[in-house]
Symmetry: C2
Subunit: 188 residues, 2 copies
């Protein structure tokens, strides 16, 4: 990917996680990324929908990469890294940024919307990484899927709670509770 | 509250839970609610921000009322009613509606935004109801707060996952896991 194209994708992901997709315009993404407006149509002939889908995929893959790496040390390490990542996004933006995958998931969209499809795949991918790690550490397969969904859902919901409440309490309390739960059900 | 005013508030809450606050205009709320546009300025001289804050409060109080009633039968009943409520919103709207409290929490807004303040209070109120019930059923006070945050965060995150994935799996799996957890830590 060229630098300009990459800057547009990263800039779009940042704007979407702050304000949602509906409030994110190609013009502002270009400005936000310091890229000429004309370049956006060169790189993304499909316009805003194409750019948004790619931005969500970029954010999703970044999170998957971190999660996969941290899970090598076990499910508790992966869980804690997942929560730390969202905590850093929140505190690093003074509670103004959250998760772009969540953001596109809750805006009205057609059922075949590309960014929402990518968001669905991202939730599935993160859950699958966590579930696989849980299974490797002795958790029954069906239970592993349920626990993995719980971790992803709780982190996503806690990010929204923290943004509204302007404290990291929800993420910190949820991480503590899930750490205890995952430690209790996995072997060492 | 007059019928027209009530219709505007309920209509705004419905639009916000479907598309977010940024994409919700006073004009469309009036149309959606079958109310003359002039009435909206009569009832809400503060405009969209006043209407949005009241819509979020209306939705939050409705959920609090249901949660408080169901918690009288114990924390597991309350938890299951909370998840059933969100499941009904999702399935009743063909995955197009979610939680208006979450929606306003993740849009860029000034730190003193009235709707976000109401959203923060809603998360706190729902968590407090659950935590009080857990304490009444033998859970240590600090743990009760953490578990209550986990339930609220996980339900909110699961709603977003279900909308993107167009299945109720995330809510169902998370509810099953939390039912087991809350059953295990509470006395009967």
């Amino acid at each position: 990917m060229t630098d300009s194209r990459q800057q547009l994708v990263a800039g779009a992901a940042d704007m979407i996680r702050r304000r949602g997709r509906g409030a994110t315009s190609i013009r502002e993404v270009a400005k936000h990324s310091g890229t000429p407006l004309g370049s956006t149509y060169h790189y993304f002939p499909g316009g805003k929908h194409e750019l948004a889908a790619e931005a969500v995929r970029y954010a999703a893959d970044t999170v998957s990469g971190i999660l996969a790496a941290k899970l090598r040390a076990g499910p508790v390490d992966g869980l804690q890294a997942f929560f730390a990542l969202w905590r850093n996004v929140i505190t690093g933006s003074d509670f103004q940024a959250g998760c772009p995958v969540l953001a596109v998931s809750i805006e009205e969209a057609p059922s075949d919307d590309p960014a929402v499809t990518v968001a669905a795949e991202a939730f599935t991918a993160w859950s699958a990484l966590l579930a696989e790690s849980l299974r490797q550490h002795g958790v029954d397969p069906a239970r592993a899927d349920h626990l993995a969904s719980l971790v992803v859902a709780a982190a996503e919901g806690a990010v929204a709670m923290c943004r509204a409440q302007r404290t990291t309490d929800a993420l910190d309390h949820v991480a503590a509770e899930l750490t205890a739960l995952i430690s209790a059900v996995t072997d060492r």
